[in-house]
């Protein structure tokens, strides 16, 4: 992250989509793209791997459900079996609703927490946008100036060709 970066600022969803594909084809390293909303198709254009968050969701949901079901059984049938309305100690059907709720709670909350962790979002974190406009109407493409092959003026031209309204160069320190 210590290297220099080049930021292309766009105004249009289509432009950012096409420039991304083009830049990737050219072999430049896209450090990140900043957008005001989730642009569809951009993940493909940028070539991101699918997230593993669904696995977190599934596993924690499973853990929540099994541990709750186990607890309910243990508490009702083993730890202190109490005769409730003549129902059997193991009233499995009656244990299902809470099991389900706890599963959803575990899965949901843990997924969000995992998301915050992997995306390093936490309260008080300083926002490090390239330009403030990315939360309004600007799209920013950030390229890393990786090696000698990176020729800033070529890239600048490329970006401008795809409708960049502004191209700036920066040192990477101010970037996430």
């Amino acid at each position: 992250m210590s290297g220099r970066v080049m930021v292309g600022i766009f105004q249009n969803e289509d432009d950012i989509l096409s420039v991304t594909s083009e830049v990737r084809k050219e072999g430049y390293t896209i450090l990140d793209i900043y957008a005001p909303y989730a642009v569809h198709g951009l993940d493909k254009a940028i070539g991101l791997q699918p997230s593993r968050l669904p696995w977190v969701c599934f596993l924690l949901g499973l853990i929540g459900a099994t541990s709750k079901l186990g607890f309910e059984y243990w508490a009702s049938a083993s730890d202190w079996p109490l005769n409730v309305g003549g129902k059997p100690w193991n009233s499995l059907p009656a244990f299902v609703p809470i099991t389900f709720e706890v599963m959803v709670l575990f899965a949901g909350i843990s997924t969000v927490i995992a998301f915050f962790i992997v995306s390093r979002l936490y309260p008080g974190r300083r926002a490090t946008s390239v330009i403030p406009g990315v939360t309004d109407d600007r799209f920013a493409l950030v390229l890393e100036e990786t090696d000698a092959a990176f020729e800033p003026s070529d890239v600048r031209r490329l970006l401008e060709r795809y409708g960049a309204i502004e191209v700036i160069e920066r040192t990477g320190e101010s970037l996430p």
Partner: protein
């Protein structure tokens, strides 16, 4: 960067609070738990002396424990079974006797200030005979073992089943002043009942119910 410092300070604080609480977990009581309650009593009665040294059986004084729900605090008349004659500690009496022999006089009757309180309560005169001029004044002991109003504990069932007093009241024979040994929580009761049903009491098979209505009604 500021927020980073804040985060560090907060989490350190949290960590130490948790550590502190964990360390004190054994001694901190939830509200209502009177464990280790050891109030000062109006008369400095020593269980250690009576039950320990003199080996008096518990049921001698707390005679209703095997007949009633309450073990009861003995009426002053029970104290008088012995303390009509015994009015002071052995040591003090011996010392007085020695002094008297030395001074060649009849030994004086010594009355310990604590026992005097019983005599006062019963309205007795200097010869420990009822004095109609004096009012009887009951002794207000401070209750140590106390259950909430919605719990019914029956001493007779426990004494009858062979549970020895120390099981619940601890080593009373070693206590100078009475102290509440268990926490008297419901879990303490229930787990003892479970254990009694499983392992018996004093080698005898018993059934200690853990139905709610065993204690709550």
């Amino acid at each position: 960067m500021k927020s980073g410092i804040l985060t560090i300070v907060l989490s350190t604080g949290l960590f130490f609070s948790a550590l502190y609480l964990a360390a004190r977990a054994g001694t901190v009581h939830i509200p209502g738990n009177q464990q280790d309650y050891q109030p000062v009593q109006p008369i400095a009665y020593s269980h250690r002396l009576h039950a320990g040294e003199l080996q008096m059986p518990c049921l001698y004084c707390h005679f209703s424990a095997e007949k009633s729900r309450h073990a009861g605090i003995p009426p002053a008349s029970v104290c008088m079974n012995c303390h009509t004659l015994v009015t002071a500690t052995f040591g003090a009496v011996r010392a007085e006797e020695e002094l008297a022999t030395k001074e060649q006089r009849k030994p004086r009757t010594l009355v310990s200030p604590e026992l005097q309180k019983i005599y006062d309560a019963l309205g007795l005169d200097a010869n420990r005979k009822p004095d109609p001029a004096r009012t009887m004044k009951p002794i207000a002991w401070t209750r140590v073992y106390k259950l909430p109003d919605f719990v019914y504990f029956d001493h007779r069932a426990h004494v009858g089943a062979g549970v020895i007093c120390q099981t619940c009241h601890g080593p009373v024979e070693a206590m100078e002043r009475m102290r509440q040994v268990p926490d008297l929580s419901m879990g303490w009761c229930v787990n003892c009942h479970r254990d009694a049903t499983k392992n018996g009491v004093a080698g005898k098979k018993v059934y200690a119910s853990i139905d709610c209505s065993t204690c709550h009604y």
